[in-house]
């Protein structure tokens, strides 16, 4: 058995695919591309695939990662040339030893968050406010648990880095590296943007918040490694 790891983009209109839709799409492309898929046993056999750190519907990504189990190796050139709908492109493929579950090994995600305002915000010192935002003792918010009860979470504990990288007229771009791990917890970048705008006492109308994931990080030998280096 072989584990094939694929790094791919999820952009343009394809960012609106849900996790389930994305999985089904991959399965079907793999099937008609005749990948030697390994199937689960039982009455409803399905291919063995793992998608790390699912993205929220509507967020785009420059680099997502998934693994699929094959019965035998096939040429990686063939994998790299597989055609997906416009917006999904395979940018890297390799065979890996998969001892550790992929899902569990993603620890952080790095995002660009672009905010469109209904009016100019060029006068507002977002850059300075970002520093004081991070210098707070805690940033509490309420989160619904799986049981349906509410619990208070400190967002700061889930933020690895956060900065304003661009500001012009009606537009503001933030960059943030946030926890996205099932055991450690994860922070939604859109929520972080809203916490920040509340902190800035923003009253300008927000037309749209666009989020793009630009990198994923795993802890390998106690060091953070970007998926581009995997």
């Amino acid at each position: 058995m072989e584990t094939l790891r694929i790094v791919y983009t999820k952009q343009k209109y394809m960012r609106y695919l849900s996790h389930l839709e994305l999985m089904k799409l991959f399965e079907r492309v793999f099937r008609f591309q005749k990948l030697p898929l390994k199937f689960s046993e039982g009455f409803n056999p399905h291919p063995k695939m793992t998608f790390a750190a699912p993205l929220s519907v509507g967020f785009s990504s420059q680099a997502e990662i998934m693994e699929v189990q094959l019965n035998e190796r096939i040429d990686l050139e063939h994998v790299l040339q597989m055609k997906f709908p416009d917006g999904i492109q395979i940018i890297k493929a390799k065979y890996v030893d998969s001892k550790k579950a992929l899902m569990a090994s993603i620890d952080f995600s790095e995002y660009m968050i672009r905010i469109d305002f209904g009016a100019s915000v060029s006068e507002y010192p977002f850059e300075e406010r970002a520093e004081s935002f991070l210098n707070q003792e805690a940033i509490h918010y309420e989160k619904k648990t799986k049981k349906g009860t509410m619990k208070t979470v400190n967002a700061l504990e889930l933020v690895k880095s956060f900065s304003v990288i661009f500001k012009e007229e009606n537009e503001l771009i933030l960059r943030a590296t946030l926890a996205s791990n099932s055991s450690m917890g994860s922070l939604n970048p859109e929520l972080l943007a809203n916490l920040f705008l509340n902190f800035c006492k923003n009253e300008k109308e927000i037309e749209q918040i666009e989020v793009e994931r630009i990198n994923l990080f795993m802890t390998v030998d106690k060091k953070l490694v970007s998926l581009y280096e995997l």
Binding site: Y13, L17, R28, F30, F39, F43, P85, Q208
Partner: protein
């Protein structure tokens, strides 16, 4: 607000994005004929329709035609479109419908008519054909409900009657000179009536008597008196569907579909499809296998279905299924069969396919007693039912679904008792024959729908049951189906009564549809949207009595609004079948001998 921002706010954005595998994106030039296939329901329903896949593939093979898709936006998207002054757009290029040359609506069920109006409204296109000009797209329609086009005849420029593969290509030929500005819209429409199977309502003017019954139809131009349906004569050699769009979202039928034959020989007297899709034309096993192979190797579907009106009647179904199962088993690709007959033969075939995936079983006895099954000519005997129960439960199935109709002509409470007898028989046989290792208990699900008399069936003269009758029968069945192992579901009579109005309706109904739309009707086929009171208000406001269309008994010599269409099956045949029904005489399956319905003489040409 831009489309992207709207997509961020709706529940299922993938309904609107397009770009699925095997979709087209052509360069839009001045010569390109821009065709929009419009399905007046949501994406998940529309993308399950095989006809869409066929027409999309067929038209996009033409170099100067670009066929795109449009579905009804769901409520959340519609609100955003209206709030932001946007319009409905195509999935492929996100173009406005006003920028298209042809909008082609498929008429799959009567309760989607308000959605057609809504799609036009969302695109700022005038509803009535007479209010549209050269600057507007041409509105065309086809599909099963086009066999009675009259209720929406005022809205549509041109109807296609019958199978579309050949006539659509011929229509494009007529359309080209109009697109090039060489002929006027009226000249193009008139030319279209010559290709066969085309109905242009503006050239026909119905005349009604004081009771509202149709007395004659005046022709306003040199057009055929009757519009003969079109069929693909050589189904094995004609256009073959060899690829399909692979849909996103959770579509209703999320699998490849391979048509194995058209038409049906059973002759069930309530069934419109069984009459209008005649004659039976099979594809050869070789063609079917090649279609399956080509579709699977371009789509990656993990399941495919062999579709037809009665798949078990395919001449060599047993070998076909076992060959296909054998071929695709190793790739974990499942085969599914849409409809099963109640007999041991069907069970044998099902045994074969369930090697891969075990699914529930569904059968349709349609009526509870032998007497009533003979009236409707449903060739299922009590013995068939018992044998089927014995074999499926013996093989280890524990769940079965049974479909029945209520309100069939001549039905009595005895026939309803028969429904509960069949359900109880199922639970009883299960206990007798279940495998010893079986721990599960049995579940028999009984579903009833309300009978709607349809045009071009032997029951087209019959009154439909009243709403009160339907409810009384449902309540009666509720008191009868008390066995804990039996689950009872029923279809709401209100929608069936409305369906009954439009199924046998005339041109006077267009104003009712518009009124109901103005009062807020849309997605009438969806329980959560359907509002019966709106419709009653609309009928009253327009001075139209719905009972005129549903519960009135019609004479054999009454001229029907749909008599302008010639489906091949003759009226004499339908009358004789209606008479035989009333005296409980059955008619054989026409694979066993010709029953003289007329389709071979009228459509194929030659002896029957």
């Amino acid at each position: 607000m831009k489309l992207e921002a709207m997509l961020q706010r709706v529940e299922k954005p993938s309904r609107y994005i397009g770009g699925e595998i095997n979709t087209f994106n052509k360069e839009i030039t001045a010569e390109m004929i821009r065709f929009a296939f419009c399905f007046p329901d949501v994406y998940e329903v529309g993308m399950s329709y095989l006809g869409l896949q066929i027409i999309y593939s067929l038209l996009n093979k033409e170099e100067d035609v670009f066929c795109e898709r449009v579905f009804s936006p769901w409520k959340d998207m519609e609100e955003l479109i209206r709030e932001n002054n946007q319009t409905t757009v195509t999935l492929e290029t996100k173009s406005k419908l006003l920028d298209m040359d042809v909008l082609a609506f498929t008429l799959q069920y009567e309760l989607s008519y308000t959605n057609i109006i809504n799609m036009l409204d969302l695109s700022h296109i005038p509803f009535y054909a007479k209010d549209r000009s050269d600057v507007h797209p041409l509105i065309v329609a086809g599909g099963p409900c086009a066999y009675n086009p009259e209720p929406i005849a005022d809205f549509v420029d041109l109807f296609f009657i019958g199978e579309g593969e050949e006539q659509l290509i011929e229509f494009i030929e007529v359309y080209r000179p109009y697109k090039a500005g060489k002929i006027t819209k009226d000249e193009m429409l008139l030319a279209a009536t010559k290709i066969g199977g085309v109905y242009v309502p503006k050239f026909y003017e119905p005349v009604y008597d004081e009771k509202g019954i149709l007395v004659e139809v005046n022709r306003k131009a040199d057009v055929p008196e009757k519009i003969k349906k079109r069929i693909v004569r050589d189904f094995d050699k004609g256009f073959q569907l060899e690829t399909m769009i692979v849909p996103f979202a959770d579509v209703v039928h999320d699998r490849a579909a391979i048509e194995i034959f058209r038409g049906c020989t059973k002759g069930c007297r309530f069934c419109q499809a069984g009459m209008i899709y005649r004659p039976v034309r099979e594809k050869s096993p070789e063609t079917i296998k090649s279609n399956v192979d080509k579709i699977l190797s371009t789509t990656g579907f993990e399941e495919f279905s062999l579709t037809s009106l009665s798949t078990m009647d395919y001449s060599s179904i047993e070998t076909l299924v076992s060959d296909l199962v054998q071929q695709y088993e190793k790739e974990s690709i499942g085969v599914s069969l849409p409809s099963l007959r109640l007999d041991s033969f069907s069970v044998d075939v099902v045994k074969e396919i369930q090697k891969i995936r075990k699914t529930g079983l569904t059968f349709a006895p349609e009526a509870g007693t032998q007497r009533l099954r003979d009236v409707i000519n449903k060739g299922v005997s009590s013995e068939n039912i018992e044998t089927t129960f014995r074999s499926i439960f013996g093989l280890g199935w524990s769940r079965v679904k049974l479909y029945f109709m209520i309100g069939l002509p001549t039905e009595t409470h005895e026939d309803l008792d028969g429904i509960s007898d069949i359900a109880n028989l199922g639970t009883y046989i299960f206990k007798q024959v279940k495998p010893e290792s079986m721990k599960k208990s049995v579940q028999v699900t009984v579903s009833t729908s309300c009978f709607v008399p349809k045009p071009f069936t032997p029951f087209q003269w019959m009154p439909q049951s009243t709403m009160d009758d339907f409810y009384e029968k449902i309540d009666y069945l509720k008191t009868k189906l008390i066995n804990k192992k039996v689950v009872y579901n029923y279809h709401d009579p209100k929608t069936s009564v409305l369906e009954g109005v439009f199924a046998r309706g005339d041109r006077k109904l267009s104003k009712v549809i518009l009124k109901a739309f103005e009062l807020g009707a849309k997605f009438d086929g969806w329980q959560e949207y359907f509002d019966y009171s709106i419709w009653m208000q609309a009928f009253e406001a327009c001075g139209v009595d719905p009972d005129f269309y549903t519960v009135r008994k019609r004479d054999y010599n009454e001229l029907f609004p749909w008599d302008i269409i010639d489906p091949g099956v003759t009226k004499d045949y339908l009358i004789s079948e209606n008479e035989k029904a009333l005296s409980g005489v059955t008619t054989i399956d026409c694979r066993e001998g010709c029953t003289a319905c007329g389709v071979n003489v009228n459509i194929i040409g030659g002896a029957c």
